[in-house]
Symmetry: C2
Subunit: 246 residues, 2 copies
């Protein structure tokens, strides 16, 4: 493996609901992208374009939302939206609600986020991030004339570590994992259970050139040697029966 380059995609304008994201990105990527690149896009670009915004002034908080908000100094309307986006709640004994979203993603506040959103609205996760990734992948292939894997990223906290790192919540055009299983190391010892979540590592890496305040919502990763059959980000979610911490 030679070196990798992480290239910020600058000049992406503020996204309006209904925007065609591929059409917006294509002129920038025509200049910048090359075959072999992987595109990473923060989910908010897709969420905003898909109209996954909720105006809090329209939200009537439930009793549970009001109770939690009062306990922790939160906006009850925003808490209500979190509850609505949750398939189930893992923890809500503190200010952060750890929820499993309808997609099966375990994250803080069900991915509901107020930052980088104008006014009194909040941004939700895309309804189907893998489908969003596939649509973008196909549209960009048409626009650019070559296929470019797409990673849709979001920032997740971790149960036993502080701070957040980005992971892949949507994926198209590449395998989510690099499977070292079955290979041997230089000593001939079989590598078991060495399944690198490559799409997550790519998302984490891309955040180093993107930035929550910089209006750089996308990046290219150049130089990867990808292997395996293309899949989706849903494959990165640990199935319930293997979940030791539900």
């Amino acid at each position: 493996m030679d070196e990798l380059r992480l290239i910020p995609v600058r000049g992406v304008p503020e996204i309006q609901p209904g925007e065609d994201v591929a059409r917006l990105l294509a002129p920038l990527l025509t200049q910048l992208a090359r075959p072999g690149d992987v595109l990473v896009v923060t989910h908010k670009v897709l969420s905003k374009a898909e109209g996954r915004l909720v105006d809090l002034t329209d939200v009537q908080p439930s009793a549970l939302a009001r109770s939690h908000a009062q306990a922790w100094g939160k906006d009850p309307r925003q808490v209500e939206v979190v509850l609505r986006e949750s398939g189930s709640i893992l923890r809500m004994e503190g200010p952060v609600i750890v929820a499993r979203t309808r997609h099966g993603l375990v994250c803080a506040n069900a991915g509901v986020d107020r930052s980088n959103v104008p006014g009194e609205s909040v941004c939700l996760l895309p309804d189907d991030p893998d489908a969003s990734a596939s649509r973008l992948y196909q549209a960009l292939e048409t626009a650019l004339g070559f296929a470019m894997p797409v990673v849709i990223s979001d920032s997740f906290g971790r149960p036993w570590r502080l701070g957040i790192v980005n992971v892949a919540i949507g994926l198209a055009g590449m395998a989510p994992f690099t499977d070292y299983r079955g290979r041997t190391d230089p000593h001939g010892y079989k590598l078991e259970a060495s399944l690198m979540a490559t799409a997550d590592a790519i998302a984490a890496a891309a955040e180093l050139v993107m930035g929550k305040t910089d209006r750089v919502p996308a990046a290219l990763v150049r130089g990867l040697e990808l292997s395996g059959s293309p899949g989706c980000a849903a494959e990165l979610i640990r199935p319930g029966e293997q979940d030791l911490f539900r």
Copy 2:
């Protein structure tokens, strides 16, 4: 932020116990590294040099180790080593023991690893990864004539996601986080609880150019704009009182 480069450090020979890692890396880094680079090294380089290897033929497994090994088809001597390296056990109802190491790191099998180790030995985590990082940082500064932050990485599983990503278990010369708190986004909305675990993102990124089978145990990350006061990887560990999942 301009683009980042992830550069593999090739030509690192197999590490023997007692090896001076800085002396081993310095000739390679003199060629390759520049001021501003961050060095990422897989923990095994430090662990092997520090003699953190256990010959399984010397290990007498306990009853608990034998019981777990029998249930899951494991080597009872290796299970015994896992138990010895654990401060506490979170889960051992399945083949993987999820333990909190003596350092406070929550990971599979207390970081005990048989791959990339000759014969019937296993490799442990460094006794004090932050101290290992500091020693390497200081020795390389002397050897190279400039200071280069050091990240010591290891591969961790995640409770709700499949596959592994790398995190920083040792750190010197840089802040573990990039703190977006107190900043505002382009809409003027305050970014709360946006603490990017930059050292973990760097570790994850570096793994994309390192590889479990390639004998590339180190990489340089070039182009980062680091901020904040230097700290250590122990700061990335969530304190017990904030741990919702112990």
